[in-house]
Symmetry: C2
Subunit: 221 residues, 2 copies
DNA sequence: GTCTATATTGTGATAGAC
DNA sequence: GTCTATCACAATATAGAC
């Protein structure tokens, strides 16, 4: 189960790919996301990385610093991309579809990621500083430019009679909710609906194609 | 912050209301929901209950058994009620509105509850047996009667041209998503939208009144 | 039933050889 | 940089007096 190795660069001295710090960080991501921060064990991370526990402290000093590094790593993947979509110049329909597809396609490969990020923010709100714009001290301007731009877009459409008025905060919350919850609640849904892994994947496929239409229909006047 | 006491029954011998086992269980709920199972400490629970740590083991034997009791307790509050609404004989519009109001009104008093339940199901899927119908071995018949009844209702409406067709699984997932996520993602939303506690409460008010309409509009043909 | 004291791990972290 | 060995303490669990 461990110690699987890639083809291996020709000059790899000990048959383990990548430099050690990266391997440890990747292993830590796996374990922290799987077990949660409080449930993760340094020993399990070391084993997953194929090194011993002392090296973890050599590179990251303490479990808490390693946890912070992990959070930056995994949250940094999705959040900026998602905000990029919402803050782009695209039309509303385009934004919704791109957001849904980006979110589901990305998270599918790491199903426990949303649950980890959200739980971590509950237990360690200070990690929000990860997203803070150093200049403004504001969480990466979702509160600022993005929300305002989106709000203007929604008001325009409403004024033209194309959609019903909706606050941009509610709009973003709906989008996030409909995309994220199937992953966060996966064990519950699989049991309640009686779905095995394959059936759940089909459930996600169906969602991916139907959500954009559903969201936009909900806004029609 | 602790040791607050009620008016007190006249025959209360040591001025602490309720019997000890109940006090411990309630304290355990508070701490487990706040910290998560792995992060909860027996000592903190003992302090919260106003007793010492040994009593926890006297009544519940081990941390794991206490955790199981807590999960039964808190999950047992909401899940059956929500399923009762969805499985009732009411019309679709009625079901949606009652579900949204029930969910938001109930969870508002325990904001971290959904996050706890969902995280717990990730880390301890075996707790799903809490919901298992002892007879059928099926998770409390959401997979069975309820889902079928709801599916029939949705198909009828679609056949009458009143809504677009939708699988009952997707419908339930949407309902749960739109209600639960604001609580699960509360720290993120508050920061991203720049809302203090009072503003977030208003955000929830708005959601409570707008969600039913939004959900039903999303289904129109 | 409830307490104090203590046993017994588990777990993050460090020292020091190589 | 990487390892083995070990420390120090936190946390669950138990023993036994009252």
């Amino acid at each position: 189960m461990d110690d699987e190795r890639t083809a291996g660069g020709p000059a790899a001295p000990d048959a383990r790919d990548g430099d050690t710090e990266q391997r440890i960080l990747r292993a830590a991501c796996t374990v922290f996301v799987r077990r949660g921060t409080a449930g993760a064990r340094m020993q399990e991370i070391a084993a997953e990385a194929g090194v011993n526990q002392a090296l973890l402290h050599y590179y990251f000093r303490s479990k808490d610093r390693l946890a912070a590094a992990v959070f930056r790593e995994v949250a940094g993947r999705l959040v900026p991309a998602a905000m990029g979509v919402l803050g782009s110049e695209a039309a509303l329909e385009e934004k919704v579809e791109r957001f849904v597809h980006l979110y589901i396609d990305t998270v599918r490969q790491h199903p426990f990621l949303p649950g980890y990020v959200l739980a971590e923010l509950h237990h360690h709100p200070e990690r929000l500083t990860t997203f803070v714009d150093p200049a403004a001290g504001q969480p990466v301007r979702l509160a600022g430019a993005l929300l305002q731009q989106l709000g203007a877009q929604l008001r325009e459409r409403a004024a033209a009679g194309q959609i019903r008025p909706i606050a941009p905060e509610q709009f973003v919350a709906n989008l996030l909710a409909l995309c994220a919850l199937p992953f966060v609640a996966r064990p519950l849904l699989q049991a309640a609906f009686g779905l095995d892994e394959a059936a759940f994947e089909r459930f996600l496929d169906e969602r991916r194609s139907e959500l954009p239409g559903l969201i936009l229909h909900g806004l029609r006047p």
